[in-house]
């Protein structure tokens, strides 16, 4: 199952763990781009006895800092038990479906009316087998209403269910001061006090909340213009435009950029909005393995050599779509390599910085800042204001021509109602705070605090023996739970101990890789993190979640395998 000896670091630069049986990344790109570079056998990665490679050193080729990412292999026994658990639950699901079908028990889900039974079914019957029979049983972990600002601590409405989660009742009590490890509040700007909230309130008094028109008509406020200028300045690009919804930014703008005869190369773990956008565009979509540059290069080459299927005409354009931080894996895109590839093969790059903007980089300017790259190398920069800025909406930034084009061609620019003024003001104030334009260093401090918290939290979890996915600098921390019952149990046990977490199961992750996802915030104090960590450790012992068979080890001397460019053949 493991392919450890083959997990060689390319160029001694980067090495990454293989994800469950996938082929190891060998970063053919680095080699192909730098074939003339001498390999430096001094830099070693030491795969521990079995697999995992953690350490990576760097020499200033493409990365200006070490790029450490790990995806520890699922232990075989755990995988088997997980499948067994799903098997048992599936059997019981069939039993319940059988009972519902013969009207032995009451059916709570949507189904056709009696007189429409012979019509083409409106509700897919088997499609929601999972929702009906697995998700419903642990539904109390999701959709929980909160009744305070979702900052570092949050108040929850207590609720109970008498019919095993089919319906909920609110008891009227409030669970106070739950430590919030679930919100995407990376920089802690989700607050109801402070300069952001004050200025938003002021703007509300001046402009009101609703705009009641689109940007092209009477909905274009001076605040919008100011925000867009500020976003462009923040990102270091020529121009930017904002949209009222992050999801729509992706799903409506990709169709404006690509169409028939275009090729979209998409990472396999891209967000649903990107996938939807790519599908709506009508262009051909090819998917490369997650963060695997060899796979991407192979697709690019094929696209250029073969052109469009059947006609073999060259593609009109090739658009590479990647995300900055992948929200389920906690991994950071290998942007330097993607940019090198994009330049080499003359493709366009669409970078979705939904999670990374504000959360990565020394100045909080996203993954481009993190790697110290030139923002002009990315053709389309997309991001959201929903996360780090504590507001709502999304933006697209890039060259002036691009933005002008999108302003008149994108559906979400033409049809969407423009953003609410207080939201715009929140974005402006928080962004100015991060940039230090408000004359304080609060923003910079928060960016640093987030980086510190992230490193600390990840390190401690790893030491405790949990399996943690992703890049060491990513504030999204997925912790593996694997077994279906543990998804429910973990959420419940954590909440019992006053910690709010997000647990993620099948449709969002591969079936056996259920996980809990912690989102670290700059608003978390060290005490809170320590408290959360001790509770996680306690629950981890209770549920036996400490699956990891490794501890972090500094790189040790081991002969470095000097294999140079391996042709891509898988």
């Amino acid at each position: 199952m493991t392919e450890s000896p083959a997990t060689k670091p390319a160029n001694g630069d980067v090495c990454q763990r293989v994800k469950n049986g996938l082929k190891p990344d060998r970063n053919g790109l680095l080699k192909s781009l730098h074939r003339c570079h001498e390999q430096q056998p001094k830099h070693h990665c030491h795969p521990e006895e079995e697999e995992e490679v953690h350490a990576a050193s760097h020499h200033g080729s493409l990365y200006n800092r070490s790029f450490i990412e790990s995806f520890e292999e699922t232990p075989m026994l755990v995988a088997v038990l997980t499948y067994m658990g799903y098997g048992i639950l599936t059997i019981f699901g069939y039993l319940r479906d059988f009972l519902r079908h013969w009207k032995i028990e009451r059916c709570h889900i949507a189904r056709e009316k009696e007189e429409q039974k012979d019509f083409v079914p409106l509700y897919q019957d088997f499609e929601n087998f999972y929702t009906r029979n697995l998700y419903m049983r642990i539904r109390d972990n999701w959709n929980r209403p909160i009744c305070s600002v979702p900052g570092a601590k949050v108040d929850l409405m207590e609720r109970s269910s008498r019919d095993y989660n089919w319906t909920f009742e609110y008891t009227g009590r409030v669970v106070h001061d739950v430590i919030n490890l679930g919100s995407y509040n990376y920089l802690g700007f989700a607050e109801n006090t402070g300069p952001c909230a004050d200025s938003a309130a002021e703007v509300t008094i001046k402009y009101g909340v609703g705009v009641a028109s689109t940007r092209q008509e009477i909905g274009n406020l001076d605040r919008h213009e100011e925000m867009e200028k500020l976003v462009a300045k923040f990102l270091g690009v020529e121009s930017a435009m904002a949209f009222g919804m992050g999801f729509a930014t992706n799903s409506m703008n990709i169709p404006a950029l690509a169409g028939k005869g275009c090729l979209i190369l998409s990472d396999e773990l891209n967000h649903a909005s990107l996938v939807l956008g790519a599908r709506l565009s009508g262009s051909t979509i090819r998917v490369f393995k997650h963060n695997n540059m060899q796979s991407l290069e192979k697709l690019l080459r094929e696209a250029i050599v073969h052109g469009q299927p059947r006609t073999h005409r060259p593609w009109k354009k090739i658009l590479i779509v990647v995300e900055g931080i992948y929200s389920m894996e906690g991994s950071v895109v290998r942007l330097p390599e993607v940019i090198a590839l994009k330049k080499r093969y003359r493709a366009y790059l669409y970078l979705d910085e939904a999670h990374s903007i504000g959360a990565l980089g020394s100045r909080g300017r996203g993954v481009v800042d993190y790697f110290g790259l030139d923002p002009c190398d990315v053709d389309v920069m997309m991001g959201t204001f929903t996360k780090s800025f504590g507001a709502a909406g999304g933006y697209i930034a890039g060259k002036r021509e691009l933005i002008e084009y999108l302003r008149s061609h994108s559906h979400s620019a033409v049809y969407a109602t423009s953003m609410s003024p207080p939201v715009v003001e929140q974005i402006i104030t928080s962004m100015k705070c991060i940039m230090g334009e408000d004359g304080t260093t609060i923003g910079l401090k928060r960016v640093r605090q987030l980086a510190e918290n992230t490193v600390y939290f990840r390190k401690r979890l790893r030491e405790m023996g949990f399996i943690i996915y992703g890049n060491m600098d990513s504030p999204v921390v997925p912790m593996m739970l694997y077994m279906p019952a543990k998804i429910g149990a973990f959420g419940r046990e954590m909440l019992k101990r006053n910690i709010g977490v997000v647990v993620v199961g099948f449709p969002a992750t591969p079936i056996i890789e259920s996980r809990a996802r912690f989102c670290i915030s700059a608003a978390h104090t060290k005490d809170m993190l320590d408290r959360a960590l001790s509770v996680i450790s306690e629950v981890g012992d209770l549920l036996q979640l400490k699956y990891s068979r490794h501890r972090i080890q500094p790189s040790l001397a081991r002969p470095f395998d000097n294999n140079v460019y391996e042709d891509i053949d898988d």
């Binding site: 639950l89 019981f92 019952a485 429910g488 149990a489 012992d541």
Partner: protein, 71 residues
Amino acid sequence: MNFKNFTEYLAWLYYQYLLITGIYVLEPWEKSIFNSILFSAIAMVIYTSYVFVPIHLCLTLQLSVMMQNYL
């Protein structure tokens, strides 16, 4: 894990059993169906081995003795 007494340890073991088999999320009547099927299967395995294994062992022994005599 530290346990105060044996009952607590047993409770923890049962909890692990619930989690690993996945029946933690099931409703009580489903749990009891699963448990009764599983435990009756185990009981039957134990019972059949109690009844038949000694006979099998005897026969094997006899056979080997016979073989030795024959040789």
